[in-house]
């Protein structure tokens, strides 16, 4: 059994981690920790539906955690994780960080978009970006995983095979994403929806969402070029699930079926990617509560564009499910252990 701790459990991702790990056949949850927990609290007082886990939430004691845990998940806001990571790593505890703190390899880009000073810069190069379909081998041996953001997951997985086959123009990428309310985090969800139920709205319009540098880093890494994307997220009135519609201009003539074959080939043996057949397109209903990323696509011959639909559950493949998938890989289990 892998002995696992979670730091931060009051957000959406912490709660989802608890749900997945409590059913995982090879995991024993040996500790729950609150960053600012001053006295012990029963987990069931926070989440009545975890009464049977009979766990307590404790204040942070890194020495104790290091003895009790083989791996710690950090489900904290950005700016909090980098304060803890060095201590854990130095004591030999593996870390999967669900925040943005170690995702961006260029620390100055991180500091500019997140408006904080990074105090653990030396650990950034050691972090492996935990997108298993791209970085499987590096994840196996990593001690620090930067777990990808939800939008970057759905978008990078949607575009990667097109970059590899080199038939799209990387200078004119337009991405329009639709996310359920949990995609913006618990606090934002409360703010957005308190007076406007049900609604649909764009937010962080015109290049201001913090996932943009992460998307661009990954696409640039895959292509070897400096990629800049136009990205506009929207909130729609569902609880969870995220659909990204991606518009790419073609550099050469290609059919929908050829592109589908590129995608199916790229993702063969990837257990959590499902490429739909020609004429079929995934909806968020296809992935809610699962760790799948489903992809459909079609060439628009009238405008010479490739249109890709990529859907995930933002809390599973877009956060906690992918984190557990990374754990499975790090501990030599089948990727899908404990996941649907």
């Amino acid at each position: 059994m892998i002995r696992v701790g979670i730091v931060g459990i009051t957000g959406y991702t912490g709660e989802e981690l608890l749900k997945i790990l409590s059913l995982h056949p090879r995991v024993k949850i040996t500790g729950l920790y609150g960053r600012s927990t001053s006295s012990q609290r029963l987990l069931k007082d926070i989440y009545p539906d975890f009464e049977n886990l009979n766990l307590i939430v404790e204040s942070l004691d890194i020495d104790k955690i290091s003895k009790n845990c083989d791996l710690v998940f950090l489900a904290l806001p950005h700016g909090a994780a980098f304060q803890l990571v060095p201590n854990f790593i130095n004591k030999g505890v593996k870390i999967i960080d669900l925040s943005a703190d170690f995702r961006l390899k260029d620390v100055s880009t991180y500091e500019q978009w997140y408006k904080v000073n990074h105090t653990a810069k030396d650990f950034v190069p050691k972090a492996v970006y935990g997108l298993s379909e791209i970085n499987f081998e590096n994840i196996k041996t990593a001690s620090l995983i930067a777990n990808p953001g939800c939008y970057p997951t759905s978008i990078t997985l949607g575009i990667a095979p097109s970059i590899k086959e080199n038939f799209v123009d990387l200078n004119n990428i337009t991405i329009d994403s639709k996310s359920g309310i949990s995609g913006a985090g618990r606090k934002s969800a409360q703010e957005y929806f308190k007076n406007e139920y049900p609604n649909c709205k764009a937010y962080e319009i015109a290049g201001t969402h913090r996932h943009i540098p992460e998307i661009e880093q990954e696409l640039s890494g895959l292509s070897g070029e400096s990629v800049v994307v136009s990205f506009t997220p929207h909130i729609i009135p569902v609880e969870r699930g995220m659909l990204s519609t991606i518009y790419l201009n073609l550099k050469r003539s290609v059919t929908s079926n050829e592109v589908l074959n590129y995608y199916k080939d790229f993702y063969k043996n990837k257990v959590f990617i499902k490429v739909f057949n020609d004429g079929d397109f995934p909806s968020i209903k296809d992935v809610v509560n699962t760790n799948y990323c489903c992809i459909g696509l079609k060439i628009d011959v009238r405008t010479n564009k490739l249109i890709i639909i990529s859907v995930i559950d933002n809390l599973v493949k877009g956060a906690s499910g992918q984190a557990v998938e990374n754990m499975n890989i790090m501990f030599d289990l089948k990727e899908s252990t404990g996941l649907i």
Copy 2:
């Protein structure tokens, strides 16, 4: 009082017309007609909430209608309206047609996209496309109005000022629209949602939606160029309301505030257009149950794109409200009479 008839009342748009016209201070509903009604039916047996109107739905008798009505609204599927229009027009009855039958000036384009033979081709040139912010003067004197489709309304209004000021590239227009379930018509709404509540999905992907030639006709007409657009509609789980996110590449450098001033100037004195201030963007909640089109926009300096958010209520400004607005103009009333 304007004596008004409605042909077709079982669809979403017919029902919405009834709601608006029953409260209109200058309208008397003098007839409700079913295209295939064989015997008289009480309106309240179809819609319990119109019991007080105390109206009956009759079978179609064009002579009788012509005597009793100054104006007839046709709320029928495409392919049905063109069979009736000539008879009405020839008897001097004004027509506002909510179907697509007279929207496309090029009849062969109509026949290709709608897969029917048009049997009233001679009347197509006489029809005025009822987008009042563009065609006000022609609407005033029209006897046949082709009432615009919902997507074309939100999109044309969102793009028109940019075309006039000539600072965007018309060869690379990407439009991503999100519509409530009524946007696809009552039958489609039933089909989409019967097994997938709540969901979000793209449909008519890659240049196959029938509103595309209508959008392209209007944008081409405004620009004098042949415009081709990439358009992808999505269904989201709200009842009504439609948000279009429009991505345009800039041809020259321009600021968000300059563009906003172009838009405010273009739409000054247009009572149903509201251009939001810099940094504010409309959501569908801002327009549901109203005849407004609200527009927000921003330049993405990173990608040199203009991003426009245009929202309407698909059943009001996108259908029945705009039809009543056109009636008001044809009968020399204030545009907003009987409308919110």
Copy 3:
């Protein structure tokens, strides 16, 4: 034209009043007033969708209002209306008060449930409870209307004919109501739904909701007995609409059809009541955005109970629509003028 003012427009009921009155053919809105408005504000800065009304919201000046208005609607929280009513009435302005301040004839009951001291006790006896199906004649000549609460409207209308025909036990009335989120007021809606979308929950359980004394007053008045009810409201995830399921024990044997005939007879000529036929039951969809109350019922022969389903739109028949209906009656218009 009736010259009308509204005091309080930022709540759900004030907004709904504006929507209805702005389309009413016999009303001119001559003033909008904020109780605590210190400087003038444009209405369109509060509600973008009322831009065309071109109205301003002013601070309260009772002398000025009295000159400009024949009737003033008070859409204020309880405890605020009774501070204003005497001044208005003394200056000859008619008042329709949408708060609870003048609904309860027993002032001590009011003070106990609402926890404020009533400072306009003398005006309580002059107020007419504005349930037009019961108090039509008194409403015609009233100068002060206490507009009924939403739950009491749906429940009193659902039970009144059973009381008249004297076949149910009034000592064991159980009422289970389901309300859309607007039923709890804008502030409560924000509170309930900020973290729990979508949800269903009971609230004010076991005899604590403030509408209980109002329901009991009306049922006691109709029956001549002192009626006590068990009432439990629930919130469901719809925007508006309210369904009350009412359980009554039978005192004598009666069939569903006999009871339906009692109801149809009781409500004949009542334009906003629709009694459904045997086997048909209304849902909230039947009344949303209308001023109707729809009623269905059935005898449960196994338990000797009458089960009544009564539905209204809480913001229309349950508040602002009923207020306008009362205005129509006070000014000798047809009840349904300007209403659907």
Copy 4:
């Protein structure tokens, strides 16, 4: 590992069983069977999100199943299960039947409410009603479990402690339930919601729902009296979750805290029951996607009634989760193994 088969996987409960069992640490799914499957189908062609299970759906071959499975779940419509049960039982396979076929001990009552002739009457007495909080010891040794219906589960668990303590009148029980759309089964959900999204409506009004004899059988069994209940189910626009509001008349004076103590005592050591503290009441959000039943209650001193709120997830504790709980008990595992 328990070798498990499922017959019937296209309904809501079959799908939910698959989700739970595929993550269960002590289960190996050794067969999926369609009652009318003529040729083999890949599971992933039915449910894309189960692609990783890599299972096939086979036609029914009872000999083969009997060799491969220790336990078979039947997730079939009523009337289908009783045709299969004798063959399985006779071959020594344990059965958990999620239909109603073996729930009612009085076969004539079953035949009357379900309008079919029962062809396996001899097996009815052998079936154990699988409500573990009541029948734990019998479940341990059962070879045939009649898995309870969703409404009967939430209602029996909500009332049982009150019956034991003998302080409520069992002649006047009123139950008002609110269920998400999946509560009515996949076909009904499609029917209800195809034209009325979102809505709230009562259905099976006045003693006609088929769960009534099941509720009455269980309450009668607990009390030793013949109990008749008034039960009215409603559909609300959430996907899953079920809230029952139960109204009981008191036979003797008792406080909310006394009753809460009865309930906490009755359910001590029952891992899936959570009795809320005084003043707290569960909402469906507290149980969605879990196997918990949460209960809150309060005495209404004005009407001398006990009001109980009992919530479950209809697909988990109300169906497939409870079925797995029963399996755990039958195979001597901890009840909560593989369940949240």
